[in-house]
Symmetry: C2
Subunit: 462 residues, 2 copies
């Protein structure tokens, strides 16, 4: 419980207008993209690194849980308030501090919208490669916390691969400034890449130096239809076993296709289409035909129904709007999605979708799968009615079996969404006890009093 | 001092034939590429992860320093034995455990020679991108310890960027298994990338899962001559500010050129050549002319004397043999090189080489500079006669001024060689006191008794 004394100290630190305790604000910051909701004690809007240091030190002295938050667009409860917690919203730390095209880097506060970083980079012929589906509204701080990715990761990697340096504050208020402004660096211990993906449980990131890449001159897209999920995924395996790396290799099963018909994405699909791939190549304009030819050659095989090419930039934009709307559009099928973000070695992807089909039949549930197939990363959505107890029980058992399948294929719980509060119960199945104990110890080292995003990332000790 | 009891335990653990205490072996493992030499107490040759765990736990109980070692080809004393230490040579952990072309990965023990990994990858049309100059004899474990890189880093990144997962042992014998077999992963804390570049001071790496990339179809090279160092480095800046990323962008000053004339690298250089760039592009064969044209356009500018292209594969191989021999060839100039591996933002590279010229004049020393200019990473070698006290004093002052210059340009002490024992005294100039304290704490957390590679990476507390 927040005391008057603490409240007074916070108001002095941030200014009274940046400390919110009213019910409307607390309600607004009680949720994220999960269906859950927990009221925080207060919501804080710092604007500087120093203010964040002050908040953490105060919270550490008074043992107040802090829940860092970007846009609240996460899928796993990473930004859900813990009981009695203060939400630290980074929305007002939304300035790009430096843009240096010559050294291909950008220094940003955590509250900047991800696509805005890419747009600024584009103004100088550069790009910020990670492109989460929520890029138009998510904040880079959340991307850093979760090691977010998107379609381009198949060619360019995830958030972690684009971080040159960070400024951050540990749970006991130690300040960290690590990394460099250079593309090579072998001086200090690399804490940057440890903090990326640690979901705000080790330190709060207050500044990031991000690497930019040359923007590709042109992009070409293919829409590819298959008569089954497994045929499509076998084609994904063939693409990833030949030399031309696509810059996107997205899979949609038939339910996913149905969910976004209104965008025209399914117009004129051949009869019998049960799965669709979106395949994209980027590079020099005169080099695209050759890349596309190589990708088409790899796509050829059993179950291929049609390859459509020749899309205009407007067509491509429409395809991506449709693809990116999927995360919300599936809710037409049933009000609640139990949303998995599993990842398997790409050579096992066809086995995974085969197993998912079997699970859907066994447990009589609509399952919608789509995602970043080139990375073996599938968003598997069990669509349920939360007030149907029988269905919910079947979904629980099905969910459980899905995780076992993924781990049996050498995969992992999360490719890009992270663990948050919602997947913690499965972590101990994937990580061995000794590694897990080590991670708990590491958490204590960064955050001895456990004030940073408690109840996230790591499971409770059994 | 190693006791009979410990020796007996080691022999039981490894087999008597893998524990060496004879003078000849100890002398062989007393040195690395620095001119220094310290006799270890014994040299151990484990063959399995379990044996390494056993060694570490025993050493931790008896407070015996362990010095991990690959090929001993490092430049900064990273593998130099500490007083009373046991060298843990990974040379016999030299098996590739798994090669999986479909998932583009390789699982390797630490004692495998780096180029052998690339060669195996090449057999399936893939490549292991990091290519240190010592690749023909260095071991991947040393590369992981130092975050080694090479010419291709300008396009493909350093060792850290190609690690999917690790198995390792902390200083108090905790076993770590982290990372995944997938190219995207957001489940556990990412300890892999923290351990890479930690120089064996946090944990001993016993197994690594490395990412492979499609091998480029073809390579084209340019040899480019300039009338000054600064003109060459200005051209590097222009190349890195346009969209075509070269896969190598190497700089040599006139002394470096002189040192390798015997390889024919300098045959037919235009009069007045004072600096040379090796520029390379890779990709689809029919796409190379376009890439080369873009690079040539960027090279055009003040001080450009000649661009030579049309090299055969044999020519290119000869150029690289020459380039890779430089690290040793410079010793013709004077018996001892004081070898720096500084890195600056690429936009500041011309300023750096200008400052180095001035330093050479001020301190009356031959300085040879060459390196990975596209990353802003320069190997700066102060050539000296160790028995000339006056020259050594000047070299010390010059060295010191060089470091100040680099830090003033926003750069760092090391781009790829690491810190080892030889650069520790400068670390506190680069890292702020709080970050340094945090790194020391982190070292204690991984290695409470300080048995892992003591006296390396971090400076002694002042």
């Amino acid at each position: 419980m927040i005391t008057g004394e603490v409240l007074q100290a916070l108001r002095e630190l941030l200014g009274a207008e940046r400390v919110f305790r009213d019910d409307a604000t607390r309600a607004l910051y009680a949720t994220d993209e999960t269906p859950k909701s927990y009221l925080p004690e207060a919501v804080l809007f710092p604007t500087t690194h120093e203010q964040v240091v002050g908040i953490v030190r105060l919270a550490n002295r008074h043992l107040l849980p802090l829940v860092p938050r970007g846009a609240g667009s996460g899928n796993v409860g990473g930004a859900l308030p813990a009981p009695g917690s203060l939400v630290v919203s980074f929305e007002c730390m939304n300035r790009i501090l430096e843009f240096d095209p010559a050294d291909r880097l950008i220094v940003t506060q955590p509250g900047v919208v991800t696509d805005d970083i890419d747009a600024l980079a584009a103004s100088a012929g550069l790009m910020y490669a990670p492109d989460p589906g929520s890029g138009g509204y998510c904040r880079i701080g959340g991307n850093l916390a979760m090691n977010a990715a998107g379609p381009r990761a198949v060619k360019y990697g995830a958030t972690r691969d684009h971080v040159l340096g960070l400024r951050a504050v540990t749970g006991d208020g130690r300040e960290i400034r690590v990394g460099a402004r250079t593309t090579k660096y072998a001086t200090a211990y690399d804490l940057s890449r440890l903090l990326v993906g640690s979901e705000g449980t080790l330190a709060l990131i207050t500044e990031a130096t991000l690497r930019l890449l040359p923007a590709p001159e042109a992009v070409a897209s293919l829409r590819v239809c298959f008569d089954s999920d497994t045929a499509a995924c076998a084609a994904v395996g063939r693409i990833m076993a030949q030399p031309v790396l696509p810059c996107a290799l997205e899979f949609m099963d038939r339910r996913a296709i149905d969910a976004i018909r209104e965008y025209g994405v399914a117009d004129g699909l051949p009869a019998g289409t049960r799965a669709l791939l979106m395949v994209e190549a980027d590079g020099a304009a005169d080099q695209l035909p050759r890349q596309i030819a190589a990708l088409e050659a790899a796509l050829a095989g059993a179950g291929l129904l049609e390859i459509r090419s020749g899309f205009t930039p407007a067509d491509i934009a429409r395809l991506w709007t449709a693809r990116k709307s999927l995360s919300h559009a599936v809710k037409k099928i049933a009000p609640l999605k139990i949303n998995e973000d599993v990842v398997v070695p790409v050579s096992r992807l066809a086995e995974l979708v085969g197993a998912i089909d079997a699970l859907a039949a066994t447990w009589r549930l609509p399952i919608v799968s789509f995602g970043h197939a080139g990375n073996g990363n599938l968003h598997v959505n069990l669509m349920v009615h939360p007030d149907d107890a029988d269905e919910m029980a079947r979904a629980g058992a099905c969910h459980d079996a899905l995780i076992e399948t993924v781990l049996g294929l050498g995969g992992s719980l999360s490719g890009e969404h992270g663990i948050g509060s919602e997947k913690r119960r499965y972590v101990a199945r994937e990580l061995d006890a000794e590694t897990l104990a080590l991670m708990r110890d590491l958490k204590r080292w960064f955050d001895p009093n456990g004030i940073l995003n408690p109840g996230k990332k790591l499971p409770d000790p059994s």
